[in-house]
Every structure is written in structure tokens, then in C-alpha cells.
Amino acid sequence: MASFIIRRFAQAMVVLLVMSLLVFAGVYVIGNPIDVLISPDATQAIRQQVIEQYGFDLPIWQQYLHFLQRLLTGDLGSSFVFNMPVATLIAQKLPATLELTLIAVLFASAVGIPLGIYAGYRPDNIAARVIMAASILGFSVPTFWIGLMLIMVFAVQFGILPAGGRGETRALFGVPFSFLTLDGWSHLILPALNLSLFKMSMMCRLAASGTREVMLTDTIKFARAAGIAERTILRRHVLKLISIPLVTVFGLELGSTLAFALVTETIFSWPGLGKLIVDSITSLDRPVMVAYLMLVSALFVVINLCVDLAYAALDPRLRHGGQ
């Protein structure tokens, strides 16, 4: 197990290194930040001074090495636009996205998986058919449209939930969170629901197809022949047998939602990372873009590592001998 973790860690380092190269090169070709940083009527001398200050006159590989050096010392640089350390900037926005995403993904799993197992267990049942049809809808209707509809219905028509913002927050370890206050929750519900619908459908369909397959196996027949109750069979046999694809999707969705909750954050004016990255792209704020993309890669690497560890925990066959 230890060697597995060490190996994965080494792989992760390589992935991050390659990623940093791609990110740096990619961002470099987007445009020249000098045009944004300096007013057009600045003198040539000032212009030259700024270029040197940021090191833009160096060859790109030297710039990359400097960037890597700073990265390793934990210095992500300063935002051109906000003129403050990128780390601080991201730390301000991250908690909002984190809580929104976690709640959305957990909610999607908590609702989607049981519904899916039920639909797979009784596929001919009317309720199961409704669930499966609804899940197709959840897949195919665009997120932004559902977001707008949610605002229309709950905020505009009935006026029972707020249309945007984080609401009242309370600090936990010095970080403000919405889910600790009632008002915060009322602000969280709609965006979280909006974000979770797609994932819920995906989890539901995965669980349903997995359950259908597993129910036909001899394992289940044997359990039934031993007189084990259906509830126990579903909870202790089926859930364990279908869990691996579910964990995979859980991890992927967690990662992609953290990184790209953009649409929902925009619609509900949720002050998270999504908004920050869009703003930084329009203003060519290189350090923010780079730091953000690096953060996203690191998150994916960590989540995938957790997913792999979860596989080993869930399936003993992967623990022994394998790898």
C-alpha cells in the first residue's frame, strides 16, 4: 500500500510539472498583458521599466524557470489587476465555491444513488420509469436554463428564496461559510440544486444500470436462496458491488464542478472562483489564470488519488497482488 501511494505521488508530481508547462505556454500566447497594464499614452521609458519589472523581456524559458522557482517556494505571484497576492485572492473565493460544490455533489449522490438503485431493482415499476425519464431530462436540459427557471419560480413568483449572493456567513477557522447560518442556507439551496441536477441524473442512471446487472448475478440469487431480506441484499450486496463506477463519477464530478461551476455562479451571483477566472481572462491577468489552472490540476490529481484509494478500500481484489 505504501509503495502504491509513493508511486501515485511521484506520478502526481510529473502530471503537475507537465501541467505547469502547458499552462504557462498556453497563457503566454493569449496576449500581451503590457497593453492592459499600462495606459496607451505612457512613455516608452515607463513602458520599458514595467516590462523589466515583470521580467517580460527575458526569453520564455527563463520566465518559466522563474515562475517554477516562485511556485516551489509557494509564491503564486501578484495579480496585475487587483495588485494583491494571488494566493490571498484565491483564498477569498475558494471557500464559497467549495461549499457550493460539496453540497451539490453530496446532495446529488444522496438522492441520485437511492433513486437509481430503486429504478434498477424494479425496472418495470411506474415510479422507476418516471425516475429514468426524469434523469434523461436532467441530463439534457441546459444548466443555465434551469437556473433561470429556479430564480423565476422561487425568487420572483413565490418570493420564498433569494435570487443571488451568499447571504449571512459565519466564520469557521477564520473562513466565512454560508452553510452555518439559516440565511446562508436559503441562499445556498437554489444554486446547489441547480448544480446537482446533472450529477444526480448521472449517478441515478449509473446506479440503475449497475443494479439491474448485479440483480441478475448468481451472487444475488445465492443471497436470496439463503433467505436474506431484499433490503439487506440491496444495502450490503448491491451497493458494494456497484460502488466503483459511482466513486469514479463522484470524483470526476467533484473536480469538474469545483473548477467549472462558472455558469451557476454567474446566474446566482455566487462570489466563487468561476467568476474570478472569467474576470482574469478578460483582463489578461496572467498570474491569476496560471495559479487557478495549477490549483485545478492539483485538485484533480488529489481527487483521483482519493478515488484510487477508495477503489482499494472497496474492492479487496485490488488490494492484494494487483499493481
Binding site: 451472487t219 443471497a223 436474506i228 439487506t232 479487496p316 481484489r317
Partner: protein
């Protein structure tokens, strides 16, 4: 005293979209306390459905029809609500299935699987469960049960898993156990052990047993009485001796005649049990081996070695180089094997699972390269480096459901190789394929259909036609009849014998079924742990085996009549 089980006019029908399938259609039998009944029949005879009906596990669209009656100790089971049936399953009646690899949940520890089965019918503390789980494993003679209960199924061998399944089935000392082909997936020696354990436990507990099997020999070694089923109905029933010695129904007779152990080696087997057997049509044949001169070393394999390395990760490789880690374990599948097959001979390759016999077969066919050693056919190398060079050798696999591409028609399947190798032109492919299909007694008019439209026996014929169409001189058959019913098995064996005669084919016949090997083969090679431990003529091996292992294999063969 009434019988333990009383089945009257049991009808289990499946109401499908395409009409009613009468899987079990009006069968009646009874079973006394402690009695063992063998329920025999071929695929589709309804024997398994009968087992599932007894235990109340018929899912829609299946249904036990009105008027059926299953009485356990006088209590009517048909029509009982699900809740009551669940109370009976595992407690009064329990069941063991064919494939122990599939019945146990791979991701749940043995102790938890046993615990679930115990708690299905009674309250028990964790300590009680542990004690009873250890007892249960000890009862089926699993050594070191204290440690084994905490393991997962994949840490057990196939035979051990089947023991665990039997232990679970016997937890509540049921009145009746239904065993559905419980030893079919196991090696003969393991099968013999399981038979012994089950026999002992059943008589010790006074449990009645219904042993469902297609194998008359196994059944005859355990059962008190035999019931023969065909197409959902019972065709014959009676004490074991009476049924085997004086079968009354022609179907029973045909089943017995199809057994290779009942006729002289080399004779064609009676295969009248199934209609549409089809006759081989030798007039259409022709092949490159016909009329070839005798050659005692036609196929020669020398010093064949095959190791499968566990793939080492890059970090591990670095570790090995720095002396910090050990080389990953290698699986030594074949060790220094050497054999020859004379032209026109059938060589039997015998061994248990994991003996390396399939690997050796694949190397001889040139499908995988050996780690060391050479294979020549008629003096010509089969492999050219890592690539197969010779089309003189072709292979037939065990599972005709897996070896045919479901998305290709029979014609496409058979024509692919010959067209690619220029044995026929694209335009002439139709006539060419027809010729080889006719050679295996397969109606060429059906060549545009797809594999799923055919039965196992027909598919195996198609697989044979595909191999023959390459005009091979050597045919490697890897367990070609292991998954077939006895009557179909007899047809395929007959076909292979006739083809050998007409085409002067050389055959390597890989099998774990010694009675088939005895019937078909001229010479036999025995493999164990990757090594060839004994070789000789079929008569030598079967009558005067030198190695104790060979003798053990022969003793483990279930024989008709106790």
C-alpha cells in the same frame, strides 16, 4: 410418515412477449427424509427451473401455474406470500449453485456473508456469528477456519469457494438442499472431494438432497434415485441401479449411449439423443494433408518454456536496479515441455486448471510466443520471431459463445481467414465457405445468419468449419466439448474423428475430461504445474499409469454405477 417433499403437477411457465415457454410442464415426484435424488437432463430440460421453483425464486415473466403443488412436510409452498417463502429459504430449503466464482460476493468478507445468512433467520451477536462461521467452515473441512473467515472469496480456490457456499447452505440445518450443477465448474479431483464432503454432511444431518446435473456419472455416484427430465417433463424416474441398468425410455438410453466411457475407444458414439445431428459429407472434402506421407515427428515442440512476468512499475524497476526491491514474481506456466505428434495422430493433453495445458496449446498454435524453445510443423517453424507464420495449424476454443464474433454472419466468420490468405478469391468465397460448412454437417443455407441464432453444438461446428477452411494440417482443440451437453459432445467427438479420418488431420486435444480423452486419443500427455510428467499411449496411461498423480486423476473420474 409422509414424505419430506411432495411435488404434484408442477408447471412453471414463462410468459414472454413471444408466447408461453413451458419450462417445467407438469412434473410430479416425491422425496423422503435423507434421500438423495439426482435430477438429470440436458440444457433447456427445465431441471434448474425445477430447483428454483422449489425454493420459490421464479422471477417474472416466469410463474408457477395454478394447480401446481409443492408440499414440504405437508405444508403447501405454492401461493405462499413472499415473506413466508423468505422464511423458508435458507432455513428449510437451501440451494448451492454451479459456479462458486460467481455465487460469493467478491467484495464482502466470508464472515460477513455467513453473518448475513445467519441473521436472515435468527438474532445473533457478533461473537456468536464468529463462532458459528468458524464452525461452519470447519464442517466443510476447510483448514485454519479461524483465519479464513476474515478473508475475501478471491483468496480461496474454486473448490474452497464451493465449500464455503455449501457451508452457508447448511448453516440452518435445512431439511432439503438443492445443488444445481455444483461440481461442473471444478476439476475432477476437486469434484471428487466435494462429492465426498457433501455425501458425509448430508447423511450426518439427515438432510435430503436434490443433485441437479447433466452428468450421469457424477449423479450415479451420489444419488439414491434418478429423475430424468426432457423439455420440461419427466421421462423416467427410479432407483439409480434400475435407471442405469435397464433404462426404459429411449431418451435415457440415448443419454447413456452418448457417454464415451460406455463404448470402445475410437468407435463413433451414438448421438441419436438430439435430432438434427446431421451427417458428415465426406464427398466435399479435400485438404492439403490427404495422402501426405507418414511422419512420426510431424509436430515437434522442444524445450518450451513460458513465463508470464507480473508487470513491474517504473519505480519498482528503479528499486530493483538499486537493489532496494525484489523482482516481481513470475508465473512459470510451462517448464521445459517437449512433445511430438505423428501425422494423423490424436494426442490428448490432460491436466487440471492451472497446469499450463492451454498455454502450451496456444504456443503450439503460434498464438503466443514461448519464452524459450521452438515448435516446428513438418520441419517448418510455426513462429517467425513474435509473429505467427504458419497457417498449417489452427485452433478451436472451449466456449463457442465467446469465440465467434456476434456481429459477423457465419459466412463472414468462416470466409475471413481464407480470403485474407488467398485460399479462395473474394468472388469464390461463397462456394468455398459452403463446402466447409457442409463438411461439418452445417446447412450452408443458414450461412447468412448470426451466431446468437444457433445452439452451442452448432456454434462449435461453425468454429470447426472456420478452422478447417484454412486447410490446416494440425488442429489444436482446447476443451472443445467441455461446455456442451453429452449428446452434442458425442456429435462433436464423432465429427472430429471423421474429419481426422477423411482429411488425415493431426489433432492436439486438450481436455480435463479423461473419459473423452480415453475415447478419442491415440496417445496422452499429462501435465502438472507446467511440466509434462507422463506420456504414453492411451492404453498405457489409462491402464498402467506410472505417476501417482495420473493415478489420482484416474481414480477421481466419476464412474457410472457405484
Amino acid at each position: 410418515m409422509t414424505d419430506l417433499l411432495e411435488v404434484r403437477d408442477l408447471r412453471t411457465w414463462f410468459h414472454t412477449d413471444r408466447g408461453i415457454v413451458k419450462s417445467v410442464d407438469g412434473i410430479s415426484f416425491s422425496l423422503k427424509r435423507g434421500e438423495i435424488m439426482g435430477l438429470v437432463g440436458e440444457s433447456g430440460s427445465g431441471k434448474s427451473i425445477t430447483g428454483f421453483s422449489l425454493i420459490g425464486l421464479i422471477d417474472r415473466p416466469g410463474r408457477i401455474e395454478d394447480g401446481s403443488s409443492i408440499r414440504l412436510e405437508g405444508r403447501e409452498l405454492v401461493g405462499l406470500p413472499d415473506r413466508d417463502l423468505r422464511g423458508i429459504r435458507g432455513k428449510d430449503i437451501s440451494m448451492v449453485f454451479q459456479d462458486p466464482m460467481m455465487t460469493l460476493n467478491p467484495v464482502v468478507r466470508i464472515i460477513d456473508q455467513i453473518g448475513m445468512a445467519i441473521r436472515a433467520h435468527e438474532q445473533a451477536s457478533d461473537a456468536q456469528i464468529r463462532r458459528r462461521a468458524v464452525e461452519a467452515l470447519a464442517r466443510v473441512r476447510i483448514t485454519d477456519p479461524e483465519r479464513k473467515v476474515d478473508q475475501y472469496p478471491h483468496e480461496f480456490s474454486g473448490g474452497m469457494r464451493q465449500r464455503v457456499a455449501i457451508a452457508i447452505a447448511l448453516l440452518h440445518r435445512p431439511r432439503l438442499v438443492i445443488a444445481d450443477e455444483p461440481t461442473t465448474a471444478l476439476d475432477v479431483s476437486v469434484q471428487a472431494e466435494i462429492l465426498k464432503v457433501v455425501k458425509a454432511l448430508v447423511s450426518e444431518m439427515g438432510t435430503s438432497l436434490i443433485w441437479i446435473s447433466h452428468d450421469l456419472a457424477t449423479v450415479s455416484s451420489i444419488a439414491d434415485k434418478i429423475t430424468v427430465m426432457r423439455r420440461g417433463q419427466i421421462v423416467e424416474a427410479g432407483p439409480v441401479r434400475a435407471v442405469l441398468d435397464r433404462p426404459q425410455h429411449p431418451y435415457t438410453q440415448a443419454l447413456l449411449d452418448a457417454l464415451p466411457s460406455r463404448s470402445q475407444p475410437g468407435e463413433l458414439l451414438a448421438s441419436g439423443a438430439t435430432e438434427a445431428a446431421g451427417k458428415l459429407d465426406p464427398s466435399t472434402l479435400g485438404g492439403s494433408a490427404v495422402g501426405a506421407p507418414a511422419d512420426s515427428g510431424f509436430v515437434t515442440a522442444q524445450g518450451i518454456d513460458k513465463t508470464f512476468a507480473r508487470r513491474a512499475g517504473s519505480l519498482r524497476q528503479l528499486g530493483v536496479r538499486l537493489g532496494l526491491a525484489s523482482e516481481p514474481a513470475q508465473v512459470h506456466a510451462v517448464k521445459q515441455a517437449a512433445l511430438t505428434i505423428a501425422r494423423g495422430e490424436i494426442l490428448g493433453l490432460v491436466g487440471e486448471s492451472g497446469s499450463g495445458k492451454s498455454t502450451l496449446g496456444r504456443i503450439l498454435c503460434g498464438i503466443i510466443p514461448p519464452t524459450a524453445g521452438t515448435v516446428t510443423i513438418g520441419g517448418e517453424q510455426v513462429m517467425d520471431g513474435l509473429r505467427k507464420r504458419s497457417t498449417k495449424v489452427q485452433m478451436i476454443f472451449q466456449d463457442p459463445f465467446a469465440s465467434l464474433d456476434p456481429r459477423r454472419s457465419i459466412f463472414q466468420t468462416v470466409a475471413e481467414g481464407p480470403v485474407a490468405h488467398g485460399l479462395c478469391t473474394r468472388a469464390g468465397a461463397r462456394a468455398y465457405v459452403d463446402r466447409w460448412l457442409r463438411a461439418v454437417a452445417f446447412d450452408p443455407a443458414l450461412a447468412n445468419r448470426y451466431p446468437h441464432q444457433f445452439s452451442g453444438g452448432q456454434r462449435q461446428r461453425i468454429a470447426i468449419a472456420r478452422a478447417l477452411a484454412m486447410q490446416p494440417e494440425v488442429l489444436i482443440c482446447d476443451e472443445p466439448v467441455a461446455s456442451l451437453d453429452v449428446s452434442i459432445q458425442a456429435q462433436v467427438i464423432n465429427l472430429l474423428m471423421e474429419l481426422r479420418r477423411h482429411l488425415n488431420l493431426t489433432l492436439l486435444f486438450i481436455s480435463h475430461d479423461l473419459s473423452v480423452v480415453h475415447h478419442l486419443c491415440d496417445r496422452v500427455v499429462v501435465m502438472r504445474h507446467g511440466e509434462i510428467i507422463e506420456a504414453g499411449t492411451a492404453t498405457q496411461i489409462f491402464h498402467t499409469p506410472k505417476q501417482p498423480y495420473t493415478r489420482m486423476l484416474l481414480d477421481a473420474i466419476p464412474r457410472l454405477q457405484p
